[in-house]
Each structure stands twice: as structure tokens, then as C-alpha cells.
Symmetry: C3
């Protein structure tokens, strides 16, 4: 069976870096099926990489190898790791990228990659990742390329917090997408657990939203008006990745404006849900 | 034979959406050959999607499946359709995207997709498109996934208009490309039919052009000067898609400037050809 | 064996051009493995294309065909060529793009493509390149599609210059990458030849750097502080392509700033290394 290798990096598409990466993979593994997830991760932003990989891995078949090239230079703080988790493989630096996954399901195996000495000095960190990806793709075991470790580095900033009285849920903006829609770290599951069926209000500065829609088009509450009437209205849904998203209906960042621009919401801004 | 599936969307390349789409397709159809046409369609701009798909489909072999992910949320105004046309397949929302094609050649078959009830509620509109694409790729019939309908929704704004006296042809800017070149909805065929060999002038505000060149380099009318001399001059050609295009010779939007910036022409601006 | 064809163009990713190019290649050669190197070369900037192809070709297996779509319109100054060099194939216009390669190793064969008359008039320059690429991919000889020529057009501006007294090396900024890092035309090899072990100083206006690091992380000279302390500091390394690069540690052009923005360095600016 053909191996699938996905790529998530902050290398951008202007330079030759992504092309070279693919060239090196197919030099090692001519049949590899390589799929780009994103190369426009905000530079060195491990939280963005974490959200993007968490939101997309499940679209791929079991056994897929996910190579994450964000903040990968190996140094005293950043070791290289490979993880088998939910029957997928992940190769990245141990900089917190995987903690969003491991908070949900216990990993099957994690190794700290220790094959760096086997290669010439001019081998880059990325070259090591390519070797590991090809090793796994050929059916090689993780123990052969690293020593087992019990956990990955945890990053707690990605979790929304329930107030002491249980009456509110405080999250943050963790991602702003192509349409300018705001993605928060409040998951549907956490929302349902805290809400217990109570009425609620999503509070952003300086606005609030009282209803979470099942999908974007549900904003058209009346059949009397054409759908176009609702363009530019703000709304909230749980997106496909399961997180609360604040959007502008049919937003076009350069014309109508986006949730990001119209509501003045930015990365790491607070979003609170109050229950009553 | 390997199935070819092309993708044209307004999802952008920053987010994981396109990667997830590809992952889902190869999960269903491991051998699918997936080719990106564009993921930078202006958000919800069905006219742009229409131009891009019309300009590119013919570069692909017969039997290719074109999945168009622009403005696809299914609602009372927008049904999902699949069309067999000129031996290619198209899957999109019935929002006018295909009318530029059907104005030229009668479709072989159009169906309104009606399989939504067969899938779980959390299936997105895009998931339905993926199911339909894989069904067609496996040789499945359109009638199995939809009920036949006679026509697609027509959008007339994409057609240039001949004046009552037959002495002018009025079109619009329908697309601005990567080089800032202006593409109009005046086709070579319509031009030839109306021109009947007469002299003409292309009138834009506030400039005009008196000659349509066979290709960009034809701007160098004399052998005395190097080609570089002509950089920055405005010109008109019929582009490979067969439409009148106003360009700046060797335009670099960030340096020389482009037709878009130098001539002050924007999307939906009027371009008239006057015959004398 | 599957043929590998790489693409390097200034077509951008918004338009359908790259998708159409791929569609035409797989129409001719269904099994072709097509890899994008870059489609965001600065329009008509042959020096950028030259750097990008020189920095990436070696990541691909021998026999790979590199199609370069930058400034390809055929005219009195620009002929189309195909070159076999270091067991790779290159197809482009003879506009200096390949001189950075041929300055290092003598080509195995160069031909001026002369098959244009065999195709219909509406065949574009790119269509000719596709025919040539598919011909080579099928094992065809270069002599069948062109007449042999001894050399490619030379562009000398890409070479750094040693001062008459041998005490300095004067180069230029030839590329600015996604991270805003500045790449110069001073190669490690030339540096070592001129330096002969002497102390040196890299002089840019208005700053200078006294040490070339082995890698980015080497900027952390002390174990006392976290790596984060060094963010935003300027540094110099020889990059993977072997050229001197001026960078900002962990630069994010839109936040920390980049070498490009913070040091005020732009394309074609002078960089001098003074030896003492």
C-alpha cells in the first residue's frame, strides 16, 4: 500500500523549501503520496500548527504519517519526537504542538528521536524528519529511531477554563481562518458539559451572541427574505473541528469585512460564555 | 485508469480545509489523481469561479471530474448539482457557476443531487460533493445520486452586449489575474461576429487601444529597440481562454504596476469596443 | 519508472494557469509525478528563478525534468532551450536563468528547441515546453527536439567580486525569503577561498556582523538564558544552498520583523565582507 505523508509547515510557498522537501521524500520513497495540509502557519506559531493538525488529521486514513515543520531546530529546549496516536503517526519537535491531541487520547507510543549521529553533519533537522517519515512508511518501528519517553511537552494555554461557580466558560481566540472567522478554544463537548441545558450568552468585547447555530445558513430565520439579506451578520457555530467559531455570514475579508475585522477580535482575545 | 479530480475553491491555502478535502478523497479512492486549479477564488465570487473553470477544464482529459467548492452551502436558493458536459463532469451548487459553459454547448445530463438523507447529520455539504465525485470516479451513473433536471441556473451578467445599431460591443471586467491583467467578458468569437472586418477602438475610462495583438511580444513593432523598451506599455490580446484581455507588457504589480493599477480598471468596470 | 517533472513559475496560485499546465502534462503523460517548486517567483525576475532552481534541483533524483516558466515568450532575444546538466534536465527560455548552474559544472548537452513549426499556431510557448518535457520523460533525445548549441546566455551580475587587494568580497542581495531573510550571492566556497582563515566582518549599511554561525540556534551562546531571549537578534549563516544569508533569529515578518525590514536591506543591495 502507498504511504501517505502529510506536510504542515511555516515555510510558505514562495521559496523552494516545500518543493525540496517533497523531492527528498520521493528520492527516498518514490511511491509516497504527499499531501499538503498547510505551509502558511504563522512563523514559529506552534499553537496554530497544533490547531491545524488537530482539525485535519482525522480526514486521513489510519497509518498516515504527519510531518510538522514548525519551530523544529533541535536545541537544549526542543527535542525531536515521533508519536503513534490514534493509529496515526506524528513527527515534530517536542514544543507543545501535540499536547492538544494527547489531552484527548493517550498516545500509543512516543519516542525521542536519537538517530542524529548516524548522519553527516550537514544533515538538517528537516532531513532527520524525512528519514524518520520514510522509516515509518516502510513499516519500521519507532523504537529503532528513538528511545521511548512517557509524555510530550504540555501546553495548557490551549484549554478553556470553567469559572469556580460553574456559571461561565472563558476561552481564547486560537485561530483566525482564511475568511477572517474567529476560532476559539471552547469545544462543543466542554460547552455541553458546562451548559447542562441552561440559556447562555457568548460575550466578546463589545458585542454578544445568544444563539449557536447548527450551520451557517441557519442564520436565515425567515423564508420571506432572500439569503443575501443576511450577508454581513455575525453568528456563532461549532465548526467541523468541534470548536466554537465566531463568523460573519458570507464574509469576504476584503469586501464585506470579517469577524476578525468587523468585531475587532484578534488572536488570544478573550471569549466568555455566560450561563444563566 | 486513474480518475482525475480537479479542485476549485475559495478556501485559501492557509487553513487545513484543502488538505482535509484531499485526505477525505484519498480515503475513499486511494488512486485518485487530485489537481488543484485554484483555491484563491475571491470568497463567494461565483463569477470568478465560473471564469476560472471555463478557462481551464479543456486542459484536462475527457472524463475528468471538476469539484467546485465556492458558495456551496445548500439552502432554499442553492441546490447541489452534478453535470456531464462535453465529456467532463462538474459538481457544484446551482448558483450560476456553470452557465458560462452551458451557454456554449448543451449539457449531456444534469442532476440535482438528492443523497443527503443517506448520510449522518454531521456530513457537510463538501462531504456530499466528495461522495458524488468518488461515485462518478468509480464509474457510477448520475441518476443514482440525483434526479435529472433540464437546466442549470442562468447568470446573464456574464455576457457582453451588442448595441442596437451594431456599432459597439459593451463588456465588463470579469477577472483580474496574478499579473494584474484585466480579463473582460468579450470573447474573440463575439468580437469577430460584430466587427465584420471593420476598424475598431477599445474604450476604457479614460484611455483607449486601437489594436488587438496576436501575442504579448508583438508589442515590439520595431527591431531597432530591445524588447525591454516596451515594458510598461498597455496592450490588448485575446487570451488563451478566448477573452479580450487588457495587459501591461511584462507587468509586475509591485514594481512596474499592472493594468489593474495603472489604468484604474476594476472588477465589473465597463469596456466598450466601438467600430467605425 | 515514473518521470518526475518539477515546476518553477511566476504564474501565482490564484489563476488557473498552474492547474491547466498540470492538466496538459497528465493528458500527455498520465503517470507523470509533478512537484511544485515555486509559483511565486517575482514576475519576470529571472535572477530569483535562477536562485530558486539552483537551490532546489539537488533535492530531486537524477533524471528529473525541471520546467521553468519565467519570462518564456519567444522573441528575437529569447530562444527556448533544453539542457542536460549534472544528470538533470532543464527546460526554459535562454534568458540567463541557467548561467548560475553552468558556471559551476559544464553542461552535458544544450539544444535550442526548434519544433515550434510542427504545432498549430495557437500553441503557446508553454505548450512547447510541455511537449519537450513529455518527450524527455518518455526517454526521447534532446537532438530530436532542438539543434545543439555550445553555451547558454551568461548573466554575470550573479557573481560576487573579490577586491583587487584580495581584502574584501563584494556581493549583493539576490533573494529575500518567506521569513524575510536576506540571501546574498556570496557562496561558502568563495568565502573560504578569499578568507584564507583571516578574521572578517560582514558590512551592510549601517550595521555589521563579525561571526558566521554554523546554524540558527548557535546564536544562543550561553546556557544561562532560554532560547527565547535571542529572538529578534541578527545573525549570519551559510544557508543550505551554500550562500551567505543574513537573518533575524526566529523572524516573523508581521510581528518581530525580518532582516529585510529591520536591517533595511533590499533586493540588489550591497553586502561586503572585509578581511583583516
Amino acid at each position: 500500500m502507498m504511504s501517505i505523508i502529510t506536510l504542515t509547515t511555516d515555510y510558505g510557498l514562495k521559496d523552494h523549501f516545500v518543493g525540496s522537501l517533497k523531492g527528498k521524500i520521493i528520492s527516498e520513497l518514490p511511491d509516497a503520496r504527499i499531501i499538503d495540509i498547510s505551509h502558511d502557519i504563522d512563523p514559529f506559531n506552534t499553537a496554530e500548527a497544533s490547531y491545524v493538525i488537530g482539525a485535519s488529521y482525522l480526514s486521513f486514513p489510519k497509518g498516515t504519517i504527519h510531518l510538522i515543520g514548525v519551530d523544529i531546530e533541535r536545541n537544549k529546549e526542543n527535542q525531536h519526537i515521533a508519536m503513534q496516536w490514534n493509529d496515526h503517526f506524528f513527527i515534530c519537535a517536542d514544543n507543545g504542538i501535540l499536547s492538544m491531541l494527547t489531552q484527548k487520547i493517550v498516545p500509543q507510543k512516543i519516542v525521542e528521536i536519537n538517530i542524529h549521529d548516524r548522519f553527516p553533519a550537514e544533515f538538517s533537522d528537516l532531513d532527520i524528519f524525512i528519514q524518520v517519515a520514510c522509516h515509518i512508511a516502510k513499516g519500521g518501528l519507532l523504537n529503532v529511531i528513538g528511545k521511548e519517553i512517557p509524555t510530550v511537552k504540555e501546553v495548557t494555554e490551549l484549554q478553556a477554563v470553567v469559572a469556580a461557580d460553574g456559571n461561565s466558560l472563558k476561552g481564547y481566540v486560537i485561530y483566525i481562518d482564511h475568511f477572517g472567522n474567529i476560532v476559539t478554544n471552547i469545544s462543543k463537548q466542554q460547552f455541553l458539559e458546562v451548559a447542562k441545558g441552561r440559556p447562555y450568552e457568548i460575550v466578546m468585547k463589545p458585542k454578544s451572541i445568544k444563539t449557536i447555530l447548527p450551520n451557517y445558513s441557519a442564520i436565515a430565520t425567515s423564508d420571506k427574505y432572500p439569503i443575501k439579506t443576511y450577508e454581513g451578520e455575525k453568528l456563532a457555530i461549532f465548526n467541523e473541528a468541534g470548536f466554537l467559531e465566531i463568523a460573519i455570514f458570507r464574509s469576504n475579508p476584503s469586501k464585506v469585512g470579517s469577524a476578525n475585522s468587523l468585531l475587532g477580535l484578534n488572536y488570544r482575545d478573550v471569549i466568555t460564555i455566560k450561563f444563566s
